[in-house]
């Protein structure tokens, strides 16, 4: 089956270690899914490219044409990899804006891998305290392993069980298995199938 992984990176600079982590996770997820027999497309979304559109979406209530395509990519994907830098002990504003403008049903039952970068490993629980609850609230299926990359992780070897490479592989494996046991996401359009009025009249 053909599968799509949407990858959202909220890094601000280029090059960005957040994007680097996102790419490592995407590669690993692709490999794991291919091992399960899927053909995989990866769609990377750099939120920086949509910065002004995100603000405009919040203010106007509707997305620009370009941002609308991003919404559709995320909603239609089989899985989402969401990566943010840690700012002031949480996800950055960009990242939260993106989550806020998504349709509130876009992530229902969607496998999501959360990941973050930060200036020190002492921030790593941002994943558990900030990211995981937001996606749980949106009824996404957040895989158990969340991946945090501190500066020292980029200079560490890959032999230890706790190394970044191992954590990436474990998380990607969990994501691939969640995708594999699901059908492709379906989208019910209320304009195609409106609730019949008799039902609305009788609705409690």
């Amino acid at each position: 089956m053909r599968r799509t992984i949407a990858v959202v990176s909220a890094g601000l600079r280029q090059p960005s270690s957040t994007r680097m982590l996102a790419d490592r996770l995407a590669d690993a997820a692709r490999r794991e899914l291919e091992q399960l027999g899927a053909e995989v497309d990866v769609e990377v979304i750099e939120l920086r490219d949509h910065a002004h559109d995100l603000v405009n979406n919040l203010l106007a209530g509707y997305p620009s044409e370009e941002l609308k395509r991003v919404h559709e990519t995320v909603a239609g994907a089989d899985a989402l990899i969401a990566v943010t830098p840690t700012f002031s002990a949480s996800f950055n504003g960009f990242f939260k804006m993106f989550v806020e403008v998504l349709d509130d049903t876009a992530l229902v039952d969607k496998p999501v891998l959360v990941a973050a970068t930060g200036g020190t490993g002492r921030h790593s629980l941002v994943l558990e305290h900030a990211l995981r609850p937001v996606f749980t609230y949106l009824h996404a299926v957040v895989v158990p392993t969340a991946v945090f990359a501190a500066p020292e992780d980029w200079g560490a070897g890959d032999t230890a069980e706790s190394s970044l490479v191992h954590r990436i592989d474990r998380a990607a494996g969990e994501l691939a298995r969640e995708v594999d046991r699901r059908d492709k996401p379906t989208h019910t359009d209320p304009f195609d199938n409106p609730t019949p009025f008799a039902h609305l009249l009788g609705a409690e």
Partner: protein, 360 residues
């Protein structure tokens, strides 16, 4: 086809002069706009309903009753009447009364209202918005159509042996439009009853308007009121005109940039591209308006223009209405070209009365 103006009666500072009008000035100015709209040949004047600042129209039938006494021809309508937080019994009474005062020149547009706290202020809950619109409107229809009503529902006190007075003029209830920017349920409601559906065509992009109107037309046919192209569709637009389009853009920019609805988001140019905000020369406004048919599923029945709001001063609004009078003369001619004979006009008291007599 009907053309008119609609507004929501906001009381806000003119960002160009810094001048803040009083509520009294604004109320008096809006009466003047209604009278001028009739004088320049427009067909409809509609005012919204709000129960929170900066808006003054908490009591639309009082205002429209006054307009009725000062005009002879123009149809009085609302943009919108809150079907959620008003008691449907009071709507039935107030608008039947207005209908008598105005000799039938009345219709109204139902809306839910999106100001959260207004619901609890009137004893309701915004989360019941759709359910309130459905139940209240169903009762309203019965109050106008049945002499004696026994009724029980979820949101108001039950009624036993209730008669809403005055009875609708000539036994013909006012025609009802339903307005909604986003909710397919409201397009469905309008279709179910064979009522009109009006999209304000503003604030959300035209592809979305197309989907809402498309759903309404399709379901209108589904419920057996006639083919989809005979459904009763209205559209809004916002207009600011100068002789030259550059002058229009220059003069409108400060109002747009400082407005509560538009300011600091997508640019004026982007908003013009995606919504029915029409800023330019009269000819540009004519061309853009004629093109609404491309996404409204073809010919439609009512076109309302917003000219008053976001701090535009009285003198400018009066100029806009004068220009609109000329623009509408052209639009009438152009919209009539190639309009299929089976596409109906918007119902009026006279046409509904004739249909009722025929039905008997």
């Amino acid at each position: 086809m009907q053309f008119g103006i609609f507004g929501v009666g906001d009381v806000v500072r003119d960002p160009v002069t810094g001048r803040m009008p009083s509520e009294h000035e604004r109320i008096k100015a809006v009466l003047e706009y209604a009278k001028l709209a009739e004088d320049v040949g427009l067909d409809v004047f509609a005012i919204g309903e709000h129960h929170n600042p900066p808006f003054f129209p908490s009591s639309p039938t009082t205002l429209l009753g006054h307009v009725a006494a000062r005009t002879d021809r123009i149809v009085l309508s609302t943009s919108t009447t809150l079907i959620t937080t008003n008691d449907p019994v009071k709507i039935a009474e107030d608008y039947a009364m207005l209908q008598h005062l105005a000799d039938g020149r009345v219709d109204l547009m139902m809306g839910r209202g999106n100001t959260g706290p207004v619901y609890p202020w009137f004893g309701q809950d915004i989360r019941n918005g759709i359910a309130l619109a459905v139940e209240n409107y169903d009762l309203l229809r019965r109050l106008w159509r049945e002499e004696v009503v026994d009724w029980q529902g979820k949101f108001r006190t039950p009624l036993q042996s209730f008669t809403s007075t005055p009875r609708p003029l000539d036994g013909v209830p006012p025609f009802v439009w339903h307005g909604s920017i986003r909710s397919p349920e409201i397009a469905e409601q309008a279709a179910y009853y064979g009522d009109g559906f009006l999209h304000n065509n503003l604030l959300w992009p035209k592809e979305h308007v197309q989907r809402m109107v498309g759903l309404y037309r399709r379901r209108f046919e589904h419920y057996g009121h006639g083919p989809a192209d005979q459904a009763i569709v209205g559209l809004g637009a916002q207009v600011f005109m100068r002789k030259n389009s550059q002058d229009a853009l220059r003069d409108f920019h400060p109002y747009f940039d400082n407005s509560a609805a538009y300011g600091h988001g997508p640019s004026l140019e982007e908003t013009m591209k995606r919504t029915a905000l029409l800023v330019g020369s009269p000819q540009e406004v004519i061309d853009r308006t004629l093109a609404f048919r491309e996404y409204a599923g073809g010919d439609y029945q009512r076109q309302l223009f917003n000219v008053d709001g976001i701090g535009v001063p009285r003198k400018t609004v009066l100029e806009q209405i004068e220009m609109l009078g000329e623009v509408v003369q052209v639009l009438r001619k152009e919209f009539a070209v190639g309009r299929p004979a089976h596409v109906p006009d918007a119902p009026t008291h006279a046409s509904l009365k004739a249909a009722a007599t025929e039905g008997k």
